[in-house]
């Protein structure tokens, strides 16, 4: 074993981070950890007042710079808008895509138009932003795309397969992007949280030992921003659970209410 490192470490430039869906609980928890290291942020989301509150908080916690970026992700031109963001920051170290809606499975099944709208948000627009980010990272030959997926994307289940389909599609997309970027020195990671206590899930009263907090997911995101991928479960035990769920034979799976 070697002793403490005697190397002189050059101070790192503050990370330039774009967060899409900055008002999400998981994104905010991650941003607080990045802020402590002086990161510079573009905080994009729909609700400007909420972005302001988060920006002030991140500033107090050490963020080098916070720029609110009110935006509707579905209608925006992802390529052009991201170009402006990257110009503003002078480059891109991390893009965290954290927005998404859960929707009520029963309602979505009865109302295909509502389902299509949800898919447009969770998958179509997210894919467009991911591809826009890929172009930037490709050109930079560096940087990381982090996308929040879900364990629900690993296997279609009767309780939430429409939401699951959008997250599954996103996972495949990000996996492919990671494959494409790998030779260039850039990375993409799909982060798959299990059950997380957020406003999205506030209506679910019975929360058991599998439930995590945004604060416990956040360090997983920070680590994914530094290394690893392309698929990261958060917390890590979900990798094992989903391995089992994915491999259950249909005869067994069909009898389980999941």
């Amino acid at each position: 074993m070697s002793g403490p490192s005697q190397e002189v470490v050059a101070p790192k430039a503050p990370q330039r981070i774009v967060i899409l869906g900055a008002t999400s609980a998981i994104a905010e928890a991650a941003a607080r950890l990045w802020a402590a290291n002086g990161a510079r942020f573009i905080l994009a989301g729909r609700n400007e007042a909420r972005l302001n509150e988060i920006a002030a908080d991140l500033k107090a916690r050490g963020a080098g710079e916070t720029i609110d970026w009110p935006l509707d992700f579905v209608t925006a031109d992802a390529g052009a808008e991201l170009g402006k963001m990257v110009d503003r920051l002078g480059g891109l170290d991390i893009l965290l895509l954290a927005y998404g809606v859960l929707g009520e499975q029963d309602d979505l099944e009865r109302n295909p138009a509502a389902a299509a709208k949800m898919i447009a948000t969770n998958f179509s627009s997210a894919a467009a932003w991911s591809l826009a980010a890929t172009a930037v990272l490709e050109q930079q030959r560096g940087g990381t795309l982090l996308v929040i997926g879900s364990v629900a994307g690993d296997r279609g289940r009767r309780s939430n397969f429409i939401y699951g389909a959008t997250k599954g599609g996103l996972a495949h997309l990000v996996e492919g992007i990671a494959h494409k970027l790998a030779p260039l020195g850039a990375r993409a990671v799909i982060i798959k949280p299990g059950f997380v206590e957020t406003p999205m899930t506030a209506g679910i009263a019975s929360k058991g030992p599998l439930w995590a907090t945004p604060e416990s997911i956040a360090p997983v995101i920070i680590r994914a921003g530094e290394k690893g991928g392309p698929i990261v479960y958060a917390p890590a035990f979900w990798r094992g659970i989903m391995l089992v769920v994915r491999n259950l034979p249909a005869t067994v799976f069909d009898r389980i209410n999941l």
């Binding site: 988060i54 506030a202 009263a205």
Partner: protein
Amino acid sequence: MSEAFVSRSDIFSWGRVTRQMQRVATPRFVDQLPALIDAAKESSLLAVGLRRSYGDSCLNELGDLIDMSRLDRIIAFDPLNGILRAEAGVGFSEILQLIVPHGWFLPVTPGTRFVTLGGAIANDIHGKNHHAAGSFGRHVRALGLLRSDRGRLTLTPESDPALFTSTIGGLGLSGIIEWAEISLTKIESAYLEVDTRAFETLDDFWDLAETSAEKFTHTIAWVDGLAHGEGLGRGIFWRANWSPYGFFDAPRDQTRLRVPADAPDFLLSRLSIGAFNTLYHRLQARAGTRLRHYLRFFYPLDTIGDWNRLYGRDGLLQYQCVVPRTAEREAIRTLLETVAADRQASFLAMLKTFGDLPAPGLLSFARAGTTLALDFPNRGEKTRALLARLDAIVADAGGALYPAKDGRMSHSMFRRSFPRWQDLQRDPLMSSDFWRRVAA
């Protein structure tokens, strides 16, 4: 996004005596609060923090609760002048991680860092430095209050003295505290020089308390609640000042040792507590001055997550009273004699002399005199009968009980403790189990 109230069975106060369903909403943004007030219009509402209050002042069975702990953003921090403005749900632990590296500390802190800013104001908490700094409310420069009848208000001690004094120590009954601005205390390191000494009698305690108040910013004593006869009043006295020697380290909260389930009842018996007390007295009795990080000095119990579960399924009853200066020596002796004679074990008996700085709130607990805090495993009627005997001694001495620790005081005891209680400018929508009991 769901903003609705959800029925939950996992909401307890720290004493874990009352187990009941609670309807709870957990907003993440202050803009959600008006809608929650509207949704609760038919019943009643109470904003709560991390529920470290022991009894029923943070519960509202017949109405709704707003869990404020997700409204935890810093609004502004001025590291040059030591002024912090933050949402009410921010925890003391998070505040410390932010301000300590800049050379600042909370002006007043209780014995746990897992309380919120709003909760500290609503209970006008006190700490080991009461004789030097007074209660927490004295350091509140301004606060934002949301009332169901008057909307959003910004209060300072001068702008609306009646509503301000109703809110400091107001148990959340004057409206929802949305944010607050506080003055911080300058520190020269994250460490304190702690002087420890054992005392064998109450007279020794009074001597130590008197001689230490001027020279030490922080004082606190532990007394052996089981000792009687000659040993009555034996204990340990800690007194401390901030040290100029040391780093400004403010560690993040690690995954802590956690009590995973309610402990069996025999764990905290008279025998086990008696053995602990004797051992503790002997171990700590090594007098001397040591350098201690603030986590270790102020928050020793925070090391064990959910330590309240050690008291078993029936929970614990806290009893904290203050007796005025003129009657303190006799009253404290009588209280300790009564406890020791009853043979119901108290694990944590803490004794502290308060200073003369007046607390700003109508329902503020801290006042000139001496405070004694005891906790008892809940043994039902037997424990309650003992507490009623203690009430009589406190009432006789002209003292008061602390609502944050209480789940059983009578309304007459409440009225004696807070003679101006009727001046409280309560928000008509706000209520709590505590309030319905003492004000009914």
